[in-house]
């Protein structure tokens, strides 16, 4: 057995990230409370540096390294770029919020960056092992982040639930993977694909493994009925952490699904299509209907996230390149909108006050017409009103599903998105037509937050007017 030096180039961004995170971790120990902003700035520059590295490697084309366990390809690069951007925005939005709650600590950033590293590994995984490695790195960071506010009962409870359920899901995934290994004798996704494609499609053993793997993915995405953790965790975690949970990890979960189901088990598309249809219908139904009964905006957005997962699955299950591209587009669009939505909550809250109830947005138009407009754009976009970005992403996945002759499923999706429009529009109604309560929160956030959040919302409008380029990027990434 001779050792061959692996090619480090394809993994350069990840290695840069790892190095920087360790550096920040050490440096943070020696920083005083007042100079904590250095950690923040370093974290942000780490993200920007990784972004530059990833972009510069984009043209390199597909490459395998580390004994074929790590893959560099256009889809991975595009997703990573959006992961960095989303995390960058999360850190930016969260800064004032964390300060006001005495949570402006190095741990948030270090854990956040470790999470990004986990996501990157997950996105670039080309082996069952790397998938599991990335997933656990990400999950462990997220458990810890939820529990960051140690003296909050709510947050600790959420973290506990998340941890236990996450462990269960990991166990199921691992079980599925072990069976897959038993059947094919390989951990490499490419080899798994060739050997499963050659097997009898109706093999019960394969179906058995597939169910467990799909469950692992579904848990990570938050698809019904493996979604139970999601509302409690979103609600219980500090909003800054919710912001993090709801954004970039969705992209990583999408990548995990693509790697496992398409790269690894593409030959079994007929089998997993049925499972995903079940998850889609349940997610659309449960997400949209339960969201109506919510009075807490974070919970409402959590259920909204569940329903969006239903749409995302709609693109993947159609089983075509166009469908995957549409799903990727959907995931990116959702992240942009979700950042804006949770960002609005962060914007409205101040020390000792979480503006996470829908009531808190009453009469926002009178107090801050600009941000009422921004929220209106976000809500309309999430509801799928043209010409906002959310409309195009829904259109794309629906077209993909129509291409796969799933007309009935599209009809279901459309009906539930109409029902879903109710709770988005209720927020708009509350902002514009209800009178504000006395002492309702005003916008007192910092300048950077205001500007970037406005830009975030306006991007939803602007990209909605020019949807072509982003969609073309997704199509090109999967071609």
């Amino acid at each position: 057995m001779n050792f061959v030096m692996p090619d480090f180039m394809p993994a350069l961004p990840e290695m840069f990230l790892l190095g920087m995170v360790c550096f920040i971790l050490l440096l943070d120990l020696f920083l005083s409370e007042r100079s904590r902003v250095v950690t923040y700035l370093l974290a942000q520059s780490t993200l920007l540096g990784a972004l530059l590295l990833t972009v510069s490697l984009y043209e390199e084309g597909r490459a395998l390294t580390f004994s074929d366990t790590f893959v560099h390809d256009p889809m991975g690069s595009v997703l990573k770029v959006f992961i960095y951007l989303a995390t960058f925005l999360v850190f930016l939005y969260a800064k004032d919020y964390l300060r006001a709650r005495n949570m402006f600590k190095g741990e948030f950033y270090v854990l956040g960056l470790f999470g990004v590293l986990g996501m990157n590994v997950l996105v670039s995984a080309h082996s069952l092992l790397t998938i599991y490695l990335g997933l656990e790195l990400l999950s462990l960071s997220m458990y810890a982040m939820v529990a960051l506010q140690r003296d909050s009962v709510q947050a600790s409870e959420a973290a506990m639930k998340y941890f236990v359920l996450g462990a269960m899901a990991s166990a199921m995934l691992l079980y599925g993977m072990s069976m897959l290994y038993g059947i094919t004798g390989s951990l490499d996704l490419g080899q798994i694909n060739t050997s499963t494609a050659a097997m009898d499609n109706n093999s019960m053993l394969l179906a058995f493994a597939l169910v467990f793997i799909v469950i692992g993915v579904a848990f990570k995405l938050g698809a019904v009925p493996f979604h139970m953790w999601l509302p409690d965790v979103y609600h219980g975690a500090p909003t800054a952490v919710t912001l993090y949970l709801s954004s970039a990890p969705k992209l990583a979960a999408f990548a995990m699904m693509m790697r496992l189901l398409v790269d690894g088990l593409g030959g079994l598309q007929e089998q997993w299509e049925g499972m995903l249809i079940l998850l889609t219908v349940l997610s659309l139904a449960a997400g949209n209907i339960i969201a109506i009964a919510q009075t807490n905006l974070k919970r409402m957005l959590a259920y909204s996230a569940i329903s969006h997962v239903g749409f995302l699955l709609l693109g993947v299950l159609s089983g075509t390149q166009a469908g995957y591209a549409a799903a990727m587009f959907y995931a990116i669009v959702y992240v942009i909108m979700g950042l804006g939505g949770f960002g609005m909550i962060v914007l409205m809250s101040r020390a000792g006050f979480e503006a996470d109830s829908i009531e808190d947005f009453k009469g926002l138009n009178e107090r801050s017409p600009w941000f009422a407009l921004m929220m209106l754009i976000l809500m309309f976009s999430m509801a799928g009103v043209p010409p906002f970005l959310g409309f195009w992403s829904k259109l794309a996945v629906i077209q993909a599903a129509l291409g796969a002759d799933l007309v009935w499923l599209v009809a279901v999706a459309v009906v539930f998105s109409v029902i879903g429009a109710f709770y988005y529009l209720r927020v708009v109604k509350v902002m514009y037509f209800d009178k504000a309560d006395v002492g309702a929160p005003t916008v007192s956030a910092g300048f950077d937050l205001r500007v970037v959040l406005s830009a975030n919302s306006l991007a939803v409008l602007g990209l909605g007017l020019f949807p072509g380029s982003l969609l073309a990027l997704c199509v090109a990434a999967l071609a």
């Binding site: 639930k161 199921m172 169910v211 009925p225 049925g274 079940l278 339960i290 109506i292 009964a293």
Partner: protein
């Protein structure tokens, strides 16, 4: 070079839009002077750049400029885009629109100068109304330019609706006045009817041609002319006829043709500069422009042309009659606009598109002039609009007087003035037309000449000559806080300058362009006429230059009819001033009929408004309250709400419930996909 021109086109539409945005959104910050400066600069840029395009397309004759700017979306192979087509037809419209708009912008400074002090009660329009007004008129200019410069049906429709929207906003500009809000609602609703037809027409174009691009549609039109469509079983219609009539229904709404004319007189509730710009010179001619632009389609349907001819003829004559009995100075001009729009429509129906568009251009100048002059009078009279309380203003307002006279002479078609050339051309073209209904139309347009002359000079004499009746009127009429009679005086230069600037083309534009536009091939490929319909081509054989036409003009029936109209007006309103009352008493029923505007409003109120309210109530009570609300909406909302409340309890918060749910999900998937699969 061409790239530069593309940028010029973009700048032409962008400049007024930018002005509108700045004045509209930041009106409070930049103040009154800032608002009018920025919008005037925007429109002036558009005007100058339109001249650049005019130079390129017409004077240098360097070919049309057509390009697309932005593709909004491609759906099912159909492209929705923003694109510009600048040929001789659109460039002429661009110059006219931006020129009149520029004049109106300047004029508005004077007209709105005292909007916060001496305006009649109920004229308030809220905070920063001055800035908002400028923002609207600039926005209008942008929309109108988008409309005329479009190279596809989608953008045409966008411009069409956008000008409608601005028109709506401006008619109701004095939002505290209930008659103004009534009028703008009415304009909006009536235009809905027209726009519905228009939209159906565009949909039909899309259905049969599968594209929205002008060039592609026009090229394919010839191939589609024999298609038939069965609108209801047992009938067969030519597709072209259906498309053309539907599109023309849109034009009827926008260009106020009978029976969709009812909104235009009421639109005079808006401030006068708006009446000049939108409801006389530009927006209302959008329908005429559109039909001329679609000439390759309309040429293929004689039925549609006959329909247009007859509608136009009725509008031309019968709306003229209404002008005779109006006492509000603006309403006289408004009815005159309706009647002139009828003339343009008649020209379109007779396939003399060039004549119609030519009249559109001359009319834009002299009608804007007449409106602005009327506005000048209104300013001098402290917002009094009743002509019975005017008179003898000639010596107080010399510039307004002389420009009004020029406008009136141009309107009635005095040989040599702009209106003469275009109107005579229309009358001759109708005379030469062989289409069914041409005989009736010829009678209408000829009789219309007398009527036009009569009401125009009735107004002219009542306002500028005779007794100074405003001196009586002001006794006990000090609602505006004027305790003594103010001597009327000439209005400031920002008002009179546009009058003079518009008076020049009102005289000259006709003679200058009759040879090219009327008989020559000015519009080139923009307007297409089949040989068998080419009435202007026939007339061209007898044409010997503008002077020959002027000399010949003195010998023709229209001239004598116009003269008769002027003389009659002089007799009735200068010489024997008691006679009109006598005539009115004698012909009471006729007067009432005209007073009631042929009962069109009454009928609409009773039939359409009442009828739709009735149907609405029925549907509301039965359909909505019981069926939809009771059963479907509230029913399903109740169900969903109930479901949401129940399912919410599943989210109990207990970890073991959650884990249990996951296991259940696992079992479900197992059952479905492993055991059953």
């Amino acid at each position: 070079m061409l790239d530069n021109l593309h940028n010029v086109n973009i700048a032409i539409v962008a400049a007024p839009l930018l002005g509108a945005i700045i004045a509209g959104l930041f009106g409070g910050a930049i103040g009154r002077a800032g608002a009018h400066t920025v919008t005037i600069i925007g429109v002036a840029i558009a005007f100058l750049l339109s001249l650049v395009m005019f130079n390129h397309v017409v004077i240098q004759d360097a070919g049309i400029v057509s390009h697309s700017v932005y593709t909004w979306l491609v759906s099912d192979g159909i492209t929705f885009e923003v694109g510009f087509l600048v040929d001789k037809l659109s460039v002429m419209m661009m110059v006219v629109v931006t020129f009149v708009s520029l004049m109106v912008h300047v004029y508005t400074i004077g007209y709105m100068a005292h909007d916060e002090e001496n305006w009649p009660e109920g004229s308030g329009a809220g905070k920063n109304s001055y800035q908002r007004f400028f923002s609207y008129i600039s926005l209008f200019t942008f929309s109108m330019l988008m409309l005329v410069m479009a190279n596809n049906f989608m953008q045409l429709f966008f411009g069409w609706e956008a000008v409608g929207l601005v028109s709506y906003l401006l008619i109701g500009f004095w939002l505290k006045r209930s008659s103004a809000t009534y009028a703008n609602l009415k304009a909006f609703l009536v235009n809905r009817v027209g726009d519905f037809g228009f939209l159906l027409g565009i949909a039909a174009v899309l259905m049969y041609f599968n594209t929205l691009d002008y060039a592609a549609v026009f090229n394919a039109a010839e191939l589609q002319k024999d298609l038939v469509i069965s609108l209801w079983p047992g009938t067969e219609w030519s597709v072209m006829t259906v498309i053309c009539i539907l599109l023309f229904v849109g034009a009827m709404g926008k260009s106020a043709q009978v029976p969709l004319h009812v909104w235009l007189p009421d639109s005079m509730e808006g401030p006068t500069p708006i009446s000049a710009l939108i409801h006389a010179a530009t927006m209302v001619t959008a329908g005429i422009f559109m039909v001329a632009r679609m000439s390759p389609l309309f040429e293929l349907s004689e039925t549609a042309l006959s329909f247009i001819l007859i509608i136009g003829a009725i509008t031309a004559l019968f709306m003229g009659f209404l002008g005779i009995i109006q006492n509000d100075i603006k309403r006289v001009v408004a009815y005159s606009t309706l009647s002139q729009l009828g003339y343009m429509t008649v020209a379109l129906g007779a396939s003399a598109y060039a004549a119609g568009v030519f009249h559109l251009m001359t009319h834009a100048f002299f009608k804007a002039l007449l409106f602005l002059a009327a506005g000048s009078v209104i300013i001098a009279m402290h917002h009094e609009q009743d002509m019975r309380r005017m008179g003898g203003l000639r010596k107080y307002m010399p510039i307004t007087w002389i420009t009004s006279l020029i406008g009136s002479l141009a309107l009635i078609g005095t040989p040599g003035f702009a209106g003469f050339f275009s109107k005579d051309l229309i009358i001759e073209a109708v005379h030469a037309s062989q289409l069914p209904g041409a005989g009736f139309a010829y009678f209408c347009v000829l009789a219309g000449v007398f009527v036009t002359a009569f009401y125009s000079f009735r107004m002219y004499f009542l306002v500028f000559h005779g007794k100074e009746r405003f001196r009586d009127a002001h006794h006990g009429h000090d609602a505006h806080g004027h305790h003594a009679v103010h001597e009327p005086h000439e209005t400031p230069w920002v008002v009179t300058l546009p009058l003079i600037a518009l008076a020049i083309p009102s005289v000259l534009a006709g003679g200058m362009y009759i040879t090219d536009m009327g008989f020559g091939n000015f519009f080139g490929s923009a307007i297409q006429v089949l040989p068998q319909h080419d009435v202007l081509g026939q007339l061209a054989q007898d044409y010997h230059g503008p002077w020959g036409m002027v000399l010949h003009g003195f010998l023709t029936a229209p001239f004598w009819l116009a003269l008769a109209g002027v003389v009659t007006a002089w007799l009735l309103y200068m010489k024997y001033t008691h006679v009109p009352a006598l005539i009115q008493a004698r012909l009471q029923f006729l007067h009432t009929l005209l007073e009631q505007k042929y009962y069109a409003d009454r009928f609409n109120d009773w039939f359409f408004a009442g009828g739709s309210r009735g149907i609405g109530r029925l549907l509301w009570q039965w359909g909505d309250v019981r069926l939809i609300d009771g059963l479907l909406v509230n029913g399903s909302a109740r169900t969903v709400g109930w479901l949401a409340a129940v399912v919410r309890h599943v989210q109990s918060g207990y970890l073991f419930h959650y884990a249990f749910a996951m296991i259940l999900g696992l079992l479900l998937m197992f059952a479905l996909f492993v055991i059953a699969g």
